[in-house]
Symmetry: none
Subunit: 414 residues, 2 copies
């Protein structure tokens, strides 16, 4: 079974609104074993909607349309469906009553323009909407079921879950299971090389990679007629991928790098502090993104000026003069002193040249030094790492902060 998702709205083709409905619907369909063939977005234009519905019905067993069911003159999905069927719109009195009641519950009279929302193409079916005024509509075109829902996500989602989702599992005759593994510390091509034959296009499960913010994610998609083999093969491929990628993987599903680090710190009962120059508080912010971070994050310093590096984290002027603020020597001392002053088990220190200015031949923009100090019950061990990061200021700062978190993660795993 396969599906096409259509979105209708001037605000979408004008670029004023990002369409989140299509991704949400695709994820729901994928989870039910329904393959999305394509998404298409058209304007509030009756002819365009008619053409898009016809094209979609020819391409798939199921068509989900969102948008164009409002009460105003530019809401035309209902009329377009009638056009596609070559039938008139009929008034559906129970829906009119329902809309009147909806307004009454808000202490208002129904405006006359809302009457159109109780109209349905002859032969079509009304789909109740408990979350707003516009009921949905279902029609059939040949063997294809076409569902139309309001474009407002908080009305669309529960309506889809009530009227479509329960019918899918039994109809699709397939089970599609997906899993996503997230890695940090290697480029997409390195990850692909490690995955090797798992990425062959004709495999089932299929394995693909995507990159976002330096994080290379591995998507596994298992597509079988029944749940047993789908789960079995997903697990097999996930296990093989995990073996091949090893500690590059920091989490799966919705897990972020900072969550993975926070979880490891919590499990180990350890605490961390930060001393940041070029990342200017970003490492601290990432660590404190997570609810309950106070269990493992003590706090930190944003030692942006050299004066603060000296006065607050005791970096000798001689070290700054001899090696510079962006140096192995400076980050090592920053980390050690942040650890000592905060009484944390670990401390991360980052110093670098985020750009666009401040680079030199010896230390070009993107030069970053990171230190991880480790004390506590183990012997004091401080490691440092040098990075030459690509991209603009935002990207250098983002990657430097993630690289710091990743150093701590790998240490906690070791």
């Amino acid at each position: 079974m396969n599906a096409v998702i259509l979105s209708v709205g001037d605000e979408l083709v004008l670029g004023q609104t990002v369409d989140t409905n299509s991704a949400w619907l695709s994820a729901r369909l994928t989870a039910s074993g329904v393959m999305t063939v394509y998404h298409k977005t058209v304007a509030d234009d009756q002819a365009a909607i008619v053409a898009a519905v016809r094209e979609a019905a020819a391409a798939a067993d199921l068509v989900i349309v969102t948008g164009g069911l409002g009460p105003t003159a530019d809401d035309l999905s209902r009329q377009a469906l009638a056009d596609v069927l070559g039938k008139p719109l009929d008034l559906h009195p129970p829906s009119l009553e329902r809309i009147r009641k909806f307004f009454k519950s808000l202490g208002r009279e129904m405006p006359p323009s809302n009457r159109i929302q109780a109209m349905v193409p002859r032969g079509g079916e009304i789909l109740d909407n408990d979350w707003g005024t516009a009921p949905g509509v279902k029609i059939r075109i040949g063997k294809t079921s076409v569902f139309v829902f309001p474009g407002v996500p908080r009305e669309m989602s529960p309506m889809f879950d009530r009227h479509v989702f329960p019918t899918l599992a039994t109809k699709s005759g397939r089970t599609i299971l997906t899993e996503t593994l997230h890695t940090f510390g290697a480029g997409e091509s390195t990850v692909a090389e490690k995955l090797g034959d798992l990425m062959r296009r004709d495999n089932n499960p299929t394995v693909g990679t995507t990159v976002s913010g330096g994080i290379v994610s591995v998507r596994i998609r298992s597509d079988f007629p029944t749940p047993g083999p789908a789960r079995l093969h997903l697990n097999r491929v996930e296990k093989t991928a995990a073996e091949r990628l090893g500690p590059l993987i920091f989490g799966h599903g919705p897990t972020t790098l900072q969550e993975a680090v926070g979880r490891l710190l919590k499990q180990a009962g350890r605490t961390v502090a930060t001393a940041e120059s070029c990342t200017g508080g970003l490492v601290a912010r990432l660590l404190t993104d997570i609810p309950g971070a106070s269990a493992y994050y003590r706090g930190g310093w944003v030692v942006y000026s050299d004066a603060l590096k000296q006065h607050e984290l005791d970096i000798p002027a001689s070290v700054l003069a001899a090696h510079g603020a962006v140096s192995e020597e400076t980050v090592r001392l920053l980390a050690l002193n942040a650890m000592r002053k905060s009484d944390a088990d670990y401390a991360l220190a980052v110093s670098g040249i985020a750009g666009p200015d401040g680079g030199s031949d010896e230390k070009p923009v993107g030069t970053v030094w990171i230190a991880l100090a480790a004390g506590g019950s183990s012997a004091a061990r401080t490691t440092t790492e040098h990075f030459q990061l690509p991209g603009d200021r935002d990207m250098v700062r983002d990657r430097a902060a993630k690289a710091a978190l990743n150093m701590l993660r790998l240490r906690l795993l070791a």
Copy 2:
């Protein structure tokens, strides 16, 4: 002139990623007077990409494709273009050299799989990418120009702006000028009330508002046949809007709140420091987003634990015991001591309950205290403000950080 936008990627049709490229591109096209006919999203499937490109080229003068240019086996946009043209892929040696250099600048060898990114369909044109490894490709199909860019937004956006945007204005036969004014500190309905009749639907220029991250932006769109009147009316409406909104406006166009604050600090020759608890480094990060922030940002403390508040910023245990970490007394002392220890002219301190846990009847989640200490040549004046912020942890932290920056902005304007 009209356009079609195609997005390519399994992660999009599987619903794992929301497509933000299409809205961004549509907004850019709209601003140039180019009408977007539709958006379409297809999987990493060569036949599907070929069919979508053919359909799009038949429907529009301009086709923008994003995605499918990566180095792995599931990146097929390049091959699909060659298919559409019925031509082979040729190696483009300067691009190969460029990709090799890109890796070299990161201190790495180019993996063999990246060689494919230097291939271009015969008769096509290579579009330089200064932000990543994959160059773009331009081909012509009949009278239609087809541009293909990487799917990563931070590569796609600057490439579009370099290779496509400058060519658009002259082609559309209309002059559409837009300006956006950004406000902070009032809700959308308050901003709309102040704008009054400027927001009438039948005006030209039109005026609309959008909200994102607590920032209410006022979009002005002037649409005339020639540049003279378009500019004249845009300026007139912008001036009126600015008069009506006064200091609520912090900037226009791409200006961020942190940029506005940085500019004012630079102009005044003043410096600032930060002391943060619930925002965990976010205020520091925002201030250091801006190149050259070292001219006015001294540094800061992330005093997440009470111990660090006491030891590093000298908050007496008695104050914490009597009033709590989230209190007017604590933020006032945090700001004063951060200012003194950093020798800055101003200091911002933030303490609050970001949630989801930690709230009480007296101090529910969203309770935030902010202090602004001011010293320097003027008499010492410290102001404090209490906020009850809506939303989840991310939202409370984001709004609290912006509210702190806005306090400093209003002080610098006064």
